[in-house]
Symmetry: C2
Subunit: 431 residues, 2 copies
């Protein structure tokens, strides 16, 4: 047969062979495409039904609290940081993690490290981000990973309490203090440590003072109020990030606690870290995590490393156009403006005065925009502000849980736009 | 121009257009190809360097303990289940998880569930696997997720100890008992519960009895030895899986603990679960996890769901040719044969008698092949077996840590082949 017929035959054969591969290529590459990934795409990608998988197994991962409407109860009791989802949806696959079935199956991550269950990648990205932001010193510090900073808070109490003491060590913090401090300190009735209330009214030499700055619930910038040779301080710096407050100095305390929940918004990942100067304290804190949970999820450590890396990429001269702290700062400034306007329109509420300072990270003067609003109900007939707001389907946390006046409530400023907007319009309407 | 020329032109154009896509398709699909995925491929896949990423950030996730040579110290002290890596390397992407940057950022997973931080996918796959294996009842049970079963063990002690008791509840277990039970029970000196030793020597009505079956360290099949109206039992069924022991009945105790560490080998993922009958006990256990770590890593819950799904896929009529329990059973039978031969060749050691039973899952008679060897040193001049083996660069856990005779040691049977083979040859050479 003539050459052209042979050529046509070969061409048709090649095209037919190419077609399914072209289609497969399209399907495989689609979910990796930068930009918003829809739940359906994600579900297909991560949960493509396997042979024999029940229908349920093909359903999607959780999305947190249900979507709200104008009639919904708005739950701002917890500091659920879903505000940050919008940012991470825009980053495409920059913060996407792929975990093969055989990866990180061992209990051990770094047998040479005091924190033997910590992924080296996580350690590296924690140090890199602090160097990028300048909010905490890392040179000469041990990095420890925990299942959220709550576990590291307990680890610090364990490490700082003398094992041979015949009395539990007193744990104190200046009121208003984070409501979890007394609850977490006392729920197991430990003989090693015991909650002792407001640091300002504490009398004694031996104590552990918890210093939260910016402070949960009221956003105040805090320093330790106690000082004695036998006393220890634990600095909870969960909110010491540029979206919430000006970075005025590189913190260099003995024990500093951080968490991805509030820095990047990944609360569901349950990863926190501690920067610890003293090796023996680091060893005892590590021992606590070993006894409590035999280490920390490596999947979450690797995800946190990926997320922290994506944040640093936005600021250290990389090509990334995604800048988390710019996004967070913009949102917090806007939300605080809306809140102050709503409180003014209502006339029934007051808020802490706005403070500001020179931010070494942004290299400009920036306001303090706390992750929680410490709202006071000024109505004479309202002694329980949380109850009053609950009557209007707004859930907040009462001041009395923070060792303060129940005329105050703590309101999360980090929920999704839809819930926050409804909260604002309801608050403005309350007289 | 004649039609055939137009057709040739079109064919050539299409082929030229197809070529780069065909090549890209090959490259993209390569890491997904079933079979061994090299660390380099994995690193490229999950850790393709981002712009601005430091060199360190491009390094690979951890691989656990370093590789061993014939001169190495062989560490079989912990039950590090790296034996299972070989299986999961063969499953390709069946158990691979992809997590987009914006996924599961909330603290909440299922606000309607007692265990509000549990991913519904995890709950579904836990129930599916137990139905597939038949080792535990799930209907009428609450599933609770924990950061490994150790956290759920503490949660159970918290939930079962009366908060108003003026004395700590006694926690007991039949010796030899898992060395972590006394350590985890007492490290915080809780006023709620206290370790009280061997269940067989316990006197009293109010207690929590820990029943580990098959038992860590000796593999014995256990039932509760105490019974009183005020007493409670917690059944630790971490090893009640077909690779270790015949599945003789569907367990239906009040509180049953399981973990992926020993069922699938994913110790680094730190995921365990509890099956709990009583709703109030489930609520209090959930409260413990809330206070301890504010929930459990959702990344790891989703990974565990994917892994458990891949295991069930191998057995419920699906197309999957990968069968975890077949692999595990083969390995354990082989390793126990090697160990008994080595002990016989040495003459200096003895092992528990082999037991067997009818396995309802395998539908055949199967031997008990424990995840740990409870090895006794029979030499008259050796009273500290762990010390004797340490002298030969074999690290094990001494019997005295299990409330037993230091002539016994616990040896992990779940390490990688290279380490296990060196252990066997060394043991056989000891006289």
């Amino acid at each position: 047969m003539p050459l052209w017929r042979v050529f046509i035959f070969a061409s048709v054969a090649l095209n037919v062979a190419a077609l399914p591969l072209l289609l497969h290529q399209y399907i495989v590459s689609h979910p990796h495409h930068p930009g918003v990934v829809s739940p359906d795409q994600q579900q297909h990608h991560a949960y493509a039904p396997q042979p024999g998988t029940s229908g349920a197994a093909a359903s999607a991962p959780s999305t947190g609290k249900p979507a709200v409407t104008t009639d919904s109860v708005i739950n701002l009791d917890h500091g659920d940081p879903t505000m940050f989802e919008a940012f991470w949806r825009e980053t495409g696959d920059a913060a996407e993690l792929v975990i093969p079935g055989w990866q990180t199956m061992s209990y051990f991550s770094d047998v040479g490290n005091v924190c033997w269950f910590m992924e080296p990648l996580f350690d590296q990205q924690v140090r890199r981000l602090h160097r990028t932001v300048g909010n905490a010193a890392v040179d000469g510090y041990h990095v420890l990973v925990g299942t959220g900073s709550t576990q590291l808070f307990m680890a610090a109490l364990y490490a700082l309490s003398p094992a041979d003491a015949n009395q539990p060590t007193s744990v104190v913090s200046t009121a208003p203090y984070y409501s979890s401090y007394p609850a977490v300190t006392d729920f197991l009735r430990s003989g090693l440590f015991r909650w002792a209330g407001d640091a300002n009214s504490f009398v004694g030499d031996s104590y552990i003072e918890l210093v939260c700055s910016p402070n949960n619930p009221d956003g105040a910038i805090r320093d330790a109020v106690l000082s004695s040779g036998a006393g220890k301080a634990v600095h909870d710096l969960a909110y010491y990030w540029p979206q919430y407050t000006p970075i005025t100095r590189r913190a260099d305390h003995d024990i500093m606690l951080f968490t991805v929940s509030k820095s990047t918004g990944h609360a569901g990942t349950r990863i926190g870290w501690a920067l610890v100067k003293d090796r023996e304290v680091a060893r005892r804190m590590t021992k606590f995590v070993e006894l409590n949970t035999i280490g920390v999820s490596k999947d979450s450590q690797l995800r946190a490393a990926k997320v922290l890396s994506a944040v640093s990429d936005g600021y250290d001269g990389g090509a990334s156009r995604h800048r988390l702290f710019d996004f967070g700062r913009r949102k917090m400034v806007e939300r605080w403006r809306m809140l102050r306007e709503a409180a003014a329109a209502s006339g029934a509420f007051s808020l802490p005065e706005e403070t500001s300072g020179r931010c070494n990270f942004a290299n400009e003067t920036a306001a303090n925009n706390p992750a929680f609003a410490w709202l006071r109900c000024d109505r004479e007939d309202v002694e329980d502000c949380a109850g009053f707001l609950r009557g209007h389907k707004i859930l907040t946390r009462s001041g009395n849980q923070f060792g303060a006046d129940p005329r105050y409530v703590r309101v999360s400023m980090l929920d999704r736009d839809d819930a926050y907007d409804i909260f604002i319009s309801r608050l403005a309407s309350l007289k």
